[in-house]
């Protein structure tokens, strides 16, 4: 299969400037990163989940107003994933667990 149509484009530089401190590259604007959502631990290969539980696993996120652990991919830099803690209310990175 081939992908058709535009699917991803480089970020146009934007003025809002959440800054993320990449452990490999240093502090960078968030436009260098792709957002990976809340941290979800990998599936337990052996687990057999009921349909209800499985739906939760796939679709339900905590969506907290406050500090959450989340994943960011440093696409323009080291191309590694980071897990960090961001205050979703102030839109500030508050730490790395």
């Amino acid at each position: 299969m081939w992908h058709a149509g535009p699917s991803f484009q480089a970020e146009v530089e934007r003025a809002v400037a959440l800054k993320i401190d990449c452990p490999h590259c240093g502090p960078r604007p968030f436009t260098e990163f792709d957002y990976g959502g809340e941290l979800v631990l990998p599936e337990d290969p052996a687990a057999t989940l009921g349909a209800e539980e499985d739906l939760r696993r796939v679709f339900v996120r905590a969506n907290v107003a406050g500090v959450q652990r989340e994943r960011w991919f440093h696409a323009a830099g080291c191309r590694r994933w980071l897990t960090l803690e961001r205050d979703t209310v102030r839109n500030r990175v508050v730490g790395a667990p």
Binding site: V12, H24, C25, T31, A76
Partner: protein, 147 residues
């Protein structure tokens, strides 16, 4: 005064355990991540450099990968008294006085190596033509060289 020139060089991509990469003593390179480094050498020094790096890494990490990534990157050097100003027109990366950084230049992933005489910017070969065109447009001093 700033000039943008295509620079021929060989690029060696190294993947190994951090302790192994820590042993690398190559003069010009970028430690992209703990387990990845990009080494830039003169074209004619590429073969021996690869062998030397491989020996160094394999001694510590038998799974080390040393690959010729020359075709994947296109290198541009920014030279001249205003090279830093020109770079500020292309990127918000903090430029070290010497050393390397990985980050966005003109919004696309790049590796930037700073030496006394010049700023070397590596972008993927696929994006190189677009990058050069855009760089010359962004920096008025570089524009007249637009063919």
């Amino acid at each position: 005064m700033a000039e943008l020139r295509r620079r021929a060089c060989a690029v060696i991509a190294c993947y190994a355990r951090p302790e192994a990469l820590d042993l690398l003593e190559e003069a010009s390179g970028c430690r992209v991540a703990p387990d990845e480094a990009l080494v830039v050498v003169d074209e004619d020094a590429a073969g021996p450099a690869r062998a030397r790096i491989h020996r160094t890494l394999a001694g510590v990490d038998p799974d080390a990968l040393v690959l010729d990534a020359t075709d994947g990157w296109t290198a541009w050097s920014l030279e001249g008294a205003d090279a830093r100003v020109a770079f500020e027109r292309l990127s918000d990366l903090p430029l070290p006085t010497s050393g390397a950084v990985a980050g966005a230049v003109l919004g696309i992933p790049a590796r930037v190596l700073v030496t006394a005489g010049s700023i070397l910017v590596l972008v993927t070969s696929a994006e190189a033509a677009w990058w050069e065109r855009t760089a010359r447009r962004r920096v008025p001093e570089l524009e007249e060289e637009l063919r």
